[in-house]
Amino acid sequence: MEHGNLLNWLIFLPTIAAVLCLIVPSNRAAKLIAVVATGLTLLLSLGLFQHFAWWGTAAGDVFGTGYGQKLYEVTKLAWITLGDGARAPKIEYFVGADGLSFPLILLTTVVTFLACLASWNIEHWKINKGIRGYFCLFLLLETGMLGVFCSLDFFLFYIFWEVMLLPMYFLIGVWGGPRKEYAAIKFFIYTLVGSVLMLVVLLAFYFYAPVGLRTFSLIELANNASIQDAFKAATFLGFRFAPFMFVLLYIGFAIKVPVFPFHTWLPDAHVEAPTPISMILAGILLKMGAYGLLRISYPILPTAGMWASYALGLLGLVNIIYGALCAMAQTDFKRLVAYSSISHMGYVLLGIAIMTPAGLQGAMFQVMAHGISSPMCFFLVGVIYDRAHHREINRFGGLWLSMPVYGSLATLGFFASLGLPGLCGFIGEFWVLVATFSAQAVWPWMTWAKPFAVIAATGVILTAGYILWMIQRVYLGPQREEYKGFRDATTREIVILAPFAALALLLGILPDQALFRFMNGTLDQITALFR
Amino acid sequence: MTIGLTHYLILAALLFCCGLFVMTTKRNAVGILIGVELVLNAACLNLVAFSRYRVGTIDGQIAALFIIVLAAAEAAVAIAIFVNYYRMLATIDADKGDELRG
């Protein structure tokens, strides 16, 4: 463990800025503060590279010998002591970064910064009131998200999970579209249900650990053999402890991912949320579910993961196919992208469910790839929504002619989402598919893996189908009269899109240098826990 | 006779009682506030006296410091409330604000 303060700054800098946002007199200043704060957070998060950029050094030096053995920028402070005595269990303020959280922290800061830039034209939105409040909530949201990714104490994790929830509720509910209240409440209640289940698990983990070893530390829970044994042996309400807890946790995280059949909040929330919030929703919030699975469910309850793998794989599969089919049926542009998110997150679930190193790598890569491509797609939708004030796919046409630069960037973004080799989406999908297909090499009992891989691969065709069809209806075709005068992408929009495009290319061309080497070590350690 | 703790405490008690009396008898809301300030002053005096003659540390001073700061805050809010009160009822008579009586 290497102690440091970087993560604390990272988490709470946005909070400070949020307060500043409320204090400053003018809306413009609030915007400026938000942009500067998110930008600073981004720069700070780049500081994590000092630990992870390991050209030439051995992986062991960076990632340590086992799960949680080597954490960076750790702050560990006793927060709430439960009981008396020096050895009493404590709820800790315990944050740290490892190969699992590092990419997600970076993703969060990048996407948030760009989403913040995307909020710059908030004055021109339909609902342009309370701009300071907007940015304040926005920054609080960033705190929550970064907190979730940084915290290594289950309780702290839970707190940040909730912290992130509330601003999102308001951001959708206040600045959203016509059915914003419905969407916001739906989102809120769904997620709250998930959190309640998580709370149950949180308490169960605490009380089912042997007395004297009780802890909330996620690392300790996963690594301590006595705790693990206790969990394996225990029963809960007559059920075996581990599977039951796993199911509860899984529902909690599945709602966030979202997994069929808990996904219906997502299209509504996406459609009603303003563009930057959609970007954050798709880019980061969905990733929290996957992160939670990898950080909590699987390391702590690996046996339950194996027990449930078939069902989980099936759910992932359903997500892929079902999401793609639903996406194809959409006429609302944003809804289409939202369903495509469901489809893409299916690969993540599938990759996690098979519990092999390659699967986890693929899943995490898909997480990052989707974190880049989907905000880009949402922003692309937002750009034309700003101009046309509707999102009916069938009413568009020929936009590439009036907006050549935007059209080119849109093609790139959607191709990245489609999984074109050379762009980020491909690697994740390919890794997951191949890993699923070859899962039996690791787990010989996974006889279902191969058929799953085959069925999942049809998703590749469906994805191409709906994306190309959408591109055709929106960007290609004859130029329509009403869209002739549309302004091409402005500098601000290009500034937002270009980093996404660059990242999509970078991840697609150099997956190892850009991502894999920063996380594979930790992922391998997690898979080592399964044996 | 040297000046000791008791002297200060009795003085503080006097101030406290004066403040209390002001609070009970003044009908002007600001007058009540002034009474509160007197009471707080008495409390501060006690704290400082205790910290000097009883404990010998500066903790009492710091507590008094916080009281002063909080009193300032309290006064600010109170005055704001009074201004609103005055706007609504056109008087500052605290007895008139009894619409919520049980």
């Binding site: 007199p25 003018s26 809306n27 309370g130 | 040297t2 000046i3 000791g4 703790l5 008791t6 002297h7 405490l9 009795i10 003085l11 008690a13 006097l14 101030l15 406290f16 009682c17 004066c18 403040g19 209390l20 009396f21 009970t24 008898t25 003044k26 009908r27 002007n28 809301a29 600001v30 506030l33 002034i34 300030e37 007197l38 002053n41 501060c44 400082v48 000097r52 003659y53 009883r54 404990v55 010998g56 500066i58 001073q61 710091i62 008094a64 410091l65 002063i68 909080l70 300032a72 805050a73 309290e74 006064a75 600010a76 809010v77 005055i79 704001a80 009074f82 201004v83 609103n84 009160y85």
Partner: protein, 174 residues
């Protein structure tokens, strides 16, 4: 009688006198003026107790800030020739009885109580000590107090602004 005693008695008389002035005064501004006397006297008592910093803060915050605020409030809410708000005599009487009883009880307790005291020591640098205590042991209350002040500032500004009544207009027109 030492100089300290003289100073104490003078200040005590000033403080108590001002406080009684507060009690007696019917004019609210006079009450404020009397309060100034009490505050100043108490501040000087702090000096006497070697709590220089506290005394100064008492002067600057209480006398220079809070009291001015109160006077300000008076000016906004009271007319010089407005209605005289006098309590009923019975009320004053009951109040006086209660308070006198309280005072008597307090004095009795104080007088009787064997107070274990320490010999006062002079802090060589009490300002620095206070500063270190505030930013060390008392850091959290200190920060909380600042947050409270912020909240109060916002709250007071909100309460006092003219348009706040109709529940709208929190947005500043730019």
């Amino acid at each position: 009688m030492s100089g300290e005693a003289i100073a104490f008695y003078m200040l005590a008389v000033l403080a108590a006198g001002s406080a009684l002035g507060c009690v007696i005064a019917t004019n609210i501004v006079r009450m404020a003026l009397c309060l100034l006397g009490t505050l100043g006297a108490v501040a000087l008592l702090y000096f006497l107790m070697a709590a220089n910093f506290l005394g100064v803060i008492q002067l600057i915050v209480y006398a220079g800030g809070t009291l001015i605020l109160i006077v300000f409030g008076i000016m906004v809410t009271s007319r010089m020739y407005g209605e005289k708000l006098k309590p009923r005599r019975s009320e004053a009487l009951i109040g006086a009885l209660v308070v006198l009883a309280l005072f008597a009880g307090l004095v009795a307790i104080l007088w009787r109580g064997p107070w274990v005291t320490v010999v006062p020591t002079e802090q060589p640098n009490s300002v620095a000590a206070i500063g270190q205590a505030l930013l060390g042991t008392y850091l959290v209350p200190f920060e909380l107090a600042s947050v409270l002040l912020l909240a109060v500032m916002i709250g007071a500004a909100y309460l006092a602004q003219p348009a706040a009544r109709n529940g709208r207009g929190t947005e500043r027109e730019e």
